[in-house]
Amino acid sequence: MPQDLPAGPKSTTAKYWRKPLDADTVKVPHGEIHIVVNRCKGCLFCVEYCPREVLEISEDFNVKGYHFPEVSKDDACVNCGLCEMLCPEFAIFCVLDEEEGGGEG
């Protein structure tokens, strides 16, 4: 397997200095987030680490008495799946929304 090297100076998250040539052909995926509300124990890993800040803490309690996450910016999810991977309770997952391929990059 290839060595997973740290990001070099050319691949940082710095803003593009010009618009990529294929920007209008690349579709940013859109994910649909599903939350199994009653499994949540309110750790907030998903809310904290969502790179697009899609989630927020609900004001409601689930049956266990925890504040669970809610989708606040549905359009913003790019189906990266980080929330699903970080969730220690198997309570949140994303499904690629095939219909809404997403806007232009």
Binding site: M1, Q3, D4, L5, P6, H34, I35, V36, V37, N38, R39, K41, G42, C43, L44, F45, E48, Y49, V63, K64, Y66, L82, E84, M85, L86, C87, P88, E89, F90, A91, F93
Partner: protein, 292 residues
């Protein structure tokens, strides 16, 4: 609130097929990282496209020891410290199975320390996922062989004065062929590391730094598990191929993560077959398991 509502998941999660759903919710505390490690392990199996009947999990005792009970594959919850020798027997009787040991730092490095170093020396083809939360959590926060100096534990009530083990250094010096360390926050890297470790023939070790909110964090006034995740975010430094002598972890100090060792060495079974092949020639039938 009804009991049904508590137990019945409203939706089916993609992980459900890999979990013993009749045992969920698990026993781990809110903001514990163990659930995340289970997801990473399952994702690694998926990544490798391994059949669920080709892999088996052995755990010892402790919070991490409970992993074996939640994954829906052949799984063994053994005695304290003995996951590696149990897995050694399992693997040697059927070397075709991928045998993965998932256990904690206290289980593998303290009471099971002797087994760890010898399995590494012999290069038994096992994958060891050692979840390091720096403390004995299930028994109530006692000092572990990984507790950083000065950190508080219930049996080090004035702070730890014992030098801890650095797991990657230990694994490297004993001959492990693959050694990586990630935190529960580095979940994608962790999936890659676990997948690489499983695919690698020989004794491979993945240390996972994982938050324990109830004991380690509370005793040391470090906030919740989320605060520990934030700490990992700000203080983990990725350094692939780092010298394993420089991977010690100080209390609330920088944590070096990465893939440190990836080398090739014949496994126990390969060595045995190679040697007996030389000694006995064609008379020797290479060993492929004691199971018919």
């Amino acid at each position: 609130m009804t009991k049904e509502a508590t137990l019945e998941p409203e939706l089916s999660h993609p992980m459900d097929d890999l979990l013993r759903m009749d045992r969920i919710p698990h026993i781990w505390c809110p903001t514990c990282g163990l659930g995340t490690v289970v997801t990473a392990f399952a994702s690694a199996i998926e990544k490798l496209q391994l059949g669920l009947d080709d892999i088996t999990v052995v755990s010892g005792i402790g919070c991490t020891g409970r992993v074996a009970g939640y994954v829906k594959i052949d799984s063994f919850h053994t005695t304290h410290g003995r996951a590696i020798p149990f897995a050694t027997g399992l693997h040697l009787a059927n070397p075709k199975l991928k045998t993965v040991v998932i256990s904690g730092d206290g289980d593998l490095i303290s009471i099971g320390g002797n087994h760890f170093i010898h399995a590494a020396r012999r290069n038994v083809d096992l994958t060891v996922i050692c979840v390091n939360n720096f403390i004995y959590a299930m028994t109530g926060g006692q000092v572990a062989p990984t507790t950083p100096l000065t950190a508080n534990a219930s049996t080090m009530p004035y702070g730890n004065f014992e030098q801890p083990f650095s797991i990657p250094y230990l694994a490297d010096s004993c001959g492990a062929v693959y050694v990586a360390r990630w935190s529960a926050l580095h979940v994608r890297r962790l999936v890659t590391a676990i997948a690489e470790a499983i695919a690698k023939p020989g004794f491979s070790v993945v240390e996972v730094i994982s938050p324990c909110s109830t004991l380690y964090s509370r005793r040391n006034r470090l906030g919740s598990g989320l605060d520990l995740m934030r700490f990992y975010h700000d203080n983990c430094e990725i350094k692939h191929g780092a010298d394993t002598r420089e991977l010690a972890i100080g209390f609330q100090e920088k944590i070096t993560v990465g893939k440190f060792i990836d080398r090739d060495r014949p496994t126990f079974v390969e060595s045995m077959n190679n040697w007996y092949g030389k000694v006995f020639g064609d008379e020797y039938e290479p060993y492929e398991g004691s199971v018919k």
